[in-house]
Amino acid sequence: MAVKLKFFAMLKGLIGREEAELEIPGEISMAELKTIIKREYPVLADLIDKRGVLVSVNQEFAGNEMTIKDGDEVAFLPPFSGG
């Protein structure tokens, strides 16, 4: 099982890329996914813990209880600055 990760704006620079694939051990919660992400991308750990980024699953905002499934697109969204 795998999910597609997307990084926007300043996160692209921090991570060094816009997209990545991540193997997951089966259907897991967003909370569990965040734990994996923080290990794989330590540079995101602080932002995730301090809620400095929002997370979406398949183009919709998602909370920690959301179930992540195979093929989902999970995006990390720094504070918006449109308008």
Binding site: K6, F8, A9, M10, G13, S56, Q59, E60, A75, L77, P78, P79, F80, S81, G82, G83
Partner: protein, 141 residues
């Protein structure tokens, strides 16, 4: 014809967007528009240019939701939203929100709410280029 809610790199015509919204009904009595433009100064820094990035599909969906919620929650007849992405020079148009209502107060309220909501929930990001380099703006740190 282009939709009432769009993200695009090309500039838009204020005249056309206003006309499209005001002509949806003969009951329209007031049309309030907000046009956001690229300022030359931000937090004391002189800006050379801007670049907007968006999350495709999700940004359009969130803009569409703003229009629908505006129609549900305010006494307006129609709303249009256009946001540009890509590189913009100083003075260029960034975003236009047009709200048409029978009475002006409803149009003012809906337009003001929509631009605040856009900044809050739509995945669009602004990068400013100054003499010191490029920086992604965090309006709500």
């Amino acid at each position: 014809m282009a939709g009432l809610v769009r993200i695009q790199s090309e500039d838009f015509s204020v005249e056309e967007e206003v006309k499209r919204i005001k002509t949806v009904s003969k009951e329209v009595g007031g049309v309030v528009s907000f046009l956001g433009t690229a300022r030359n100064i931000s937090k004391g820094e002189k800006i050379v240019s801007l670049e907007f990035e968006h999350y495709p599909v999700m940004a359009e969906k969130k803009l569409d939701e703003i229009r629908k919620r505006a129609l549900d929650n305010f006494n307006i007849i129609e709303m249009g939203i256009v946001h540009r992405v890509g590189r913009l020079d100083i003075g260029e148009n960034i975003v236009l929100i047009v709200a048409a209502a029978r009475h002006r107060n409803d149009a003012f309220m809906a337009c003001e709410w929509a631009i605040a909501e856009l900044k809050r929930v739509v995945p669009i990001w602004k990068k400013e280029t100054t003499g010191k380099g490029e920086v992604w703006v965090e309006e709500h740190p």
